[in-house]
Symmetry: C2
Subunit: 578 residues, 2 copies
């Protein structure tokens, strides 16, 4: 059974005055989840996340959703509901608040704790009101009654949303798995779901992350068995990395340290930050004196030490990567150290993690890692759990969210298998508008929903044209030509030629090529009839074309060519530069 | 049980006049397998491969092993034994033969068929003698008696090598799995292995690729079940991609086409080439008229068409990627087409393949892919098979080969589990030298074994410094400053400033920045006492430093700065360029 998106989208539908569901981010991707739920003059937002760049986004650190739609509909925005504290759900808030007014943000204590820190850092804490909600608490956001219900995921204090709207009930799962033995004992609130379902659920928006994986995601608790085994057998230091936000995992690691009488040094800003906030808010408890400064651990016996660190994705600047490359100031790997990679690669990071593991192995570390090692479980539902969710909700309409396009399609097909009518499944992209009434669902013409690329160290945006120049430079390098002319276009100085990142064939030296290029340019300027008639810009283009032809022909390269022309009045010329 | 490489390597050992095993490529990596086996004045080579570049090798197409050791020992080289026809085993031969004499190359017919084509293309076919070997054939290469025995792998006509050396028998597995129901009926020649083992095997060099995977690799034949199911159910066109070299897979795809009465169009040069050679050599048989030109298929009913294409790794220029992006001249995806990705990502390619699948899904294709789909099996042994190999050979010494470092370590540990003494396991890198006598094994000081980066479209090498410039350009862009001075260093024209790939903060326009930079330069030149005393090169450095400081300070960027100075004699100046 397949879901035909093209059919849905090619129909030109007229608005019915119904409920609109408009993702600004998170559809067709993993990351920057930002959902608009709109009815009449009311908009509520569900999550406001950021995403991380792909490899071809040279020099980009963060990716944000374009929020023009919110600016244009500022007057409608009544509030934001946060499901949990992961960056792809809260990381966009500080950027959103720069020029968009969100009167109130509701969310779980841990997420708001993290958010508060972010907002204070940049002085935006007074732009909105952060309001903590408890499980089963109901808040009113415009015309929407939003019930926050406990769900299980890889960060503590996660919620799904049951949203009563004027046309019916919408369930937004947030990120979820069904963990029936959660580490903190906080079970998924299935009863609230089924109660809503008994009265009828109009639409289900459900997490598609693991829709390519059969079966069930194991409970977070299963990681304990392997952790316990590794700690029991380790003879020297244990170095563990995981996602800083996985409070449950960190908790289990600290438990293992206590059990095996080891002290813990924490490395990496995000790990320290999360540990502090989680402890302060009571999500994590551990004995005083368990944590020791990293300076201490080199003085302690190796079998008394755990080092808990960031770097589970092989991030170049992270503590673990620096340790692996022997570039960390305080920690050096000693043969016999055990390193636990308690995480899986986010797609695209496979290579960097593999490099880290190789480097650790070279230094003699015993590295515990990988899909089959039992040292990590996902925070997202696999197919059987996704089916359970659809069965619990029995929605009329189904919108798979939180996934790349192929995942949305697979998840949509799963819903059809579970009894949702194919025409009631909407496979949508960011900017698409689904409109629902009690009886009918349709797709309206899309709104604008692009991306903003951010250079985070400098906190400003990067234009796509800049990226294209960078890709060009990265692929074939650059040639700079400078030339001084008199007003009659006689050459007074130069041409001077500089090349960067340009690769040359074996037999040709850079000096050779520079000479050839100079010759080529001077030659091209000899045709006075042509040259004399050219305006400044035209002359630059003319020289550029001559050079591009030369490079394509003689060295089969396509470097970026930058021509600089200068005019002076003199007639005697001598080149200074080489 | 762990294998301590550091201990082995820190010992300074003296040569014992034994057998030397020296990998020039393929250790600490997947790719460019090139093994030197040396005794006295004889060297035999086992395989000569190439590797593909990692993402950070900007503009690099191929990676080759540095062969200085072979140049220095040219007189010793007696021949090359090829195990099978994959690029990482034969792709280095054309480059090797450019300046190294290899008197004879022995190998299976398919590998030599592929090699012959490569060598003819570049006119090197007369540099060596290609000699086909049959299963169980024994050839003499210098002092080595080399027996080629049938093995099972993902390309037809693969061999393992049993090498009788003056100090004992060495088994080199090549790439292998134990496929007990191979598509071509050619079983692994276990009897030859055990016969050798009965007389005692000194050393086993074994394929480590899948040492991170438990259990057994399924038989190639299991793919048929899923292929048959997909073909039975497909309503429209079927587009299949796989590794061109996987002759067995291609054969099964053609079989399915025949069974379901579809014609096949083949796209992609490597796929066409492999199909032609395989058919010519008898590895593949199919009815005349099965293959049709791609121009034909758009005229045929969709349910009569199979398109067999390259692009299983999401390569940007491959046919499948172009089809997915709607950029292929002849083939456009129509909703309802079935696309079969009969391959897994080579590490590092995950993202590009995922992008291809997403793009195909967006166009309405039903895409069959993924680890659990049953549509692909690996060509390499998993852990149980690796244990079987060690048990069949019962080697005294064990050298895991064909793997990244972490895999070599895991494979080494497996050998220890199977009874090899820990001190007899050698975890080595390219350039390391293992020396073996009948009784003893040790590591000698390494030889030089680097990499050669090749820009294949231009067929020449790329220097690491060029790559660093490209990374710099890719990260932060470039600024060009041109300035014309008189001989007293008064500014006659300029400064002219051009920027490429440089990202600016929100509030600053490029024109703003150019003005500021000009101002900064002119300011810096006002200090006549300093400027007057500077030589040309010093003045350039001086301006460069001023600018780098300005960019770091004002726009927090670190672009590559190129300063071009020109000298003319005039006193009146006007800038032509902007």
């Amino acid at each position: 059974m397949s879901v035909d998106k093209s059919r849905q989208k090619t129909e030109v539908n007229k608005p019915m005055g119904g409920l609109k569901i408009i993702p600004l981010g998170g559809l067709g991707e993993i990351g920057k989840n930002t959902m608009v739920i709109e009815y009449g003059d009311d908009i509520m937002l569900a999550d406001a996340g950021l995403a991380f760049p792909s490899d071809d986004m040279l020099g980009v650190d963060l990716v944000l959703p374009e929020l023009d739609y919110l600016r244009e509909n500022q007057h409608k925005i009544k509030g934001l509901a946060i499901t949990h504290g992961h960056e792809d759900h809260i990381g966009g808030v500080p950027f959103m608040l720069r020029d968009i007014t969100v009167p109130v943000i509701y969310g779980p204590a841990l997420a708001l704790g993290l958010l508060e820190g972010k907002l204070s850092e940049i002085g935006l804490q007074d732009r909105t009101t952060l309001t903590k909600v408890n499980p089963r608490q109901v808040v009113q956001i415009g015309c929407f009654r939003v019930k926050f219900i406990r769900c299980t995921h890889s960060i503590a204090d996660s919620f799904s949303l049951i949203i009563e709207t004027p046309v019916g009930t919408v369930v937004h799962t947030g990120d979820f798995k069904f963990d029936f033995t959660p580490v903190d004992g906080e079970l998924y609130d299935i009863a609230s779901l089924t109660a809503a379902s008994e009265s009828g659920i109009l639409a289900l928006l459900s997490d598609s992350t693991n829709t390519e994986r059969e079966g069930y995601t194991p409970s977070e608790r299963t990681v304990w068995r392997k952790l316990d085994e590794v700690f029991a057998n380790a003879q020297k230091r244990i170095i563990v990395t995981t996602f800083a936000s996985n409070v449950h995992r960190v908790k289990q690691i600290l438990q293992a340290a206590v059990k095996y009488d080891r002290k813990v040094a924490v490395l990496g800003r995000s790990m320290l930050n999360l540990a502090a906030i989680s402890r302060e808010l009571g999500y994590m408890t551990f004995p005083d004196g368990l944590l020791v400064p990293v300076e201490e651990v080199n003085k302690m016996p190796p079998d008394k030490v755990v080092i808990l660190t960031t770097g589970s994705q092989g991030e170049p600047m992270s503590a673990l990567t620096r340790i692996a490359n022997n570039a960390h100031k305080q920690i050096q790997i000693v043969s016999g150290d055990t390193v636990i990679i308690s995480a899986t690669p986010i797609p695209g990071n496979e290579r960097s993690i593999a490099n880290t593991i190789n480097a650790l192995s070279v230094r003699g570390a015993n590295v515990i890692y990988g899909r089959d090692a039992g040292i990590h479980v996902s925070g997202h539902a696999c197919r059987e759990e996704q089916k359970l969710m659809i069965n619990l909700c029995k929605p009329k309409f189904f919108i798979p969210v939180h996934g790349e396009y192929r995942m949305l399609v697979k998840h949509g097909e799963l819903a059809v298998e579970c009894g949702v009518k194919p025409e009631n499944v909407f496979i949508i992209d960011n900017g698409d508008v689904v409109e629902l009434t009690k009886d009918k669902g349709q797709i309206l013409p899309p709104i604008k929903a692009g991306v903003i690329l951010v250079d985070s160290s400098r906190a400003w945006e990067i234009d796509e044209t800049i990226l294209e120049e960078r890709r060009h430079l990265a692929e074939d390098g650059m040639v700079v030509v400078a030339l001084t002319l008199d007003h009659k276009k006689n050459v007074l100085a130069g041409p001077d030629v500089a090349m960067r990142g340009l690769n040359l064939p074996g037999g040709i030296t850079p000096d050779d090529l520079v000479e050839r290029v100079k010759h080529e340019i001077l030659n091209s300027l000899k045709d006075r009839a042509v040259v004399g008639s050219l305006a400044e810009g035209e002359l630059k283009s003319y020289i550029k074309e001559v050079l591009q032809g030369h490079f394509a022909d003689k060295v089969k390269a396509n470097p970026l060519v930058q021509v600089v022309l200068q005019e002076v009045a003199a007639t005697k010329a001598k080149s200074l530069s080489k």
